[in-house]
């Protein structure tokens, strides 16, 4: 198993980040063109805690190295199953995702957390990401290591691109929400 982890701070409130998070993969995010579909499978609010639980199916279309394709079988479309939990009291979002495609040979489990920063809770949000990648194919350790390393490399690249893309979405969301508020004020 290999573990990839990263983290950063966004200079936006948790309310803004957790709202924008729902449209992370929208046309404003020109960095995530590999995500071709985001579908909501279920959504419930726990009546005793107020925690919002959402299941989503995320569909990606990204180029996979040829040697991986010949090893794992040939398709560039992959599906990810994600369960997320929004705790509105603790101001924390946790998103747990796992790969549906190639799941018999490779297990990728990612946990992403957005939480109100303890240092500056009103204006900043902390982001952490951890992925556990395990090659499941029987046989040579060498090949398993190679598959895991390639997956971690891809994860690292996507994490950086993902962060840049999300910054754009945050900026656009703030602008659009600001404009809406202005319009509403004028109407009053």
């Amino acid at each position: 198993m290999k573990v990839f982890s990263s983290g950063c701070t966004f200079n936006y409130s948790w309310d803004e980040v957790s709202t924008a998070n729902w449209r992370k993969y929208c046309p404003w995010n020109d960095k995530s063109t590999h995500v071709v579909g985001v579908d909501t499978l279920s959504r419930t609010v726990d009546p005793s805690t107020g925690i919002l639980r959402t299941e989503r199916l995320i569909t990606c279309n990204q180029s996979v190295p040829q040697w991986v394709l010949s090893l794992l079988g040939g398709t560039n479309t992959s599906h990810v199953y994600e369960v997320s939990y929004v705790d509105p009291v603790a101001k924390k979002v946790t998103m747990c995702s796992t790969n549906l495609t190639w799941s018999n040979v490779l297990s990728v489990r990612e946990t992403v957390v957005y939480r109100q920063s303890p240092i500056d809770p009103a204006t900043t949000t902390e982001f952490t990401q951890e992925a556990k990648i395990t090659a499941l194919c029987g046989g040579w350790q060498k090949i398993k290591n190679k598959v895991e390393e390639a997956s971690v490399d891809r994860f690292r690249e996507n994490a950086k691109i993902g962060r840049e893309g999300f910054e754009t979405v945050l900026e656009m969301s703030r602008r659009v929400f600001g404009e809406q508020r202005e319009l509403e004020k004028q109407r009053l």
Binding site: V35, G37, L52, Y81, V83, D87, R109
Partner: protein
């Protein structure tokens, strides 16, 4: 908002997503967590989507993932903080 995996569901999905985002930012985050303004739209969207997931065999993959992991994360993240 992002597209649906099923192009025929895009219209209803967009209506639902818009409704949800409004509910989330204007009600849910302000403490009104029990309202469910978008239930009807979600039902229609799910009806459209589930057909496609079944046709493409994705429903089985999702069911497997549910079985193998989500009860663990539910136990950890659905509790009161």
């Amino acid at each position: 908002m992002a597209a649906s995996i099923a192009p025929e569901c895009n219209d209803i999905k967009e209506k639902y997503d818009t409704c949800f985002l409004k509910w989330y930012s204007e009600k849910y985050l302000r403490g009104n967590t029990s309202s469910n303004d978008c239930e009807e739209l979600f039902k229609k969207y799910k009806g459209c989507l589930n057909k496609v997931l079944k046709e493409r065999g994705i429903d089985v993959m999702v069911e497997d993932a549910r079985k193998s992991g989500s009860s663990e994360t539910d136990a950890e993240f659905l509790k009161k903080s």
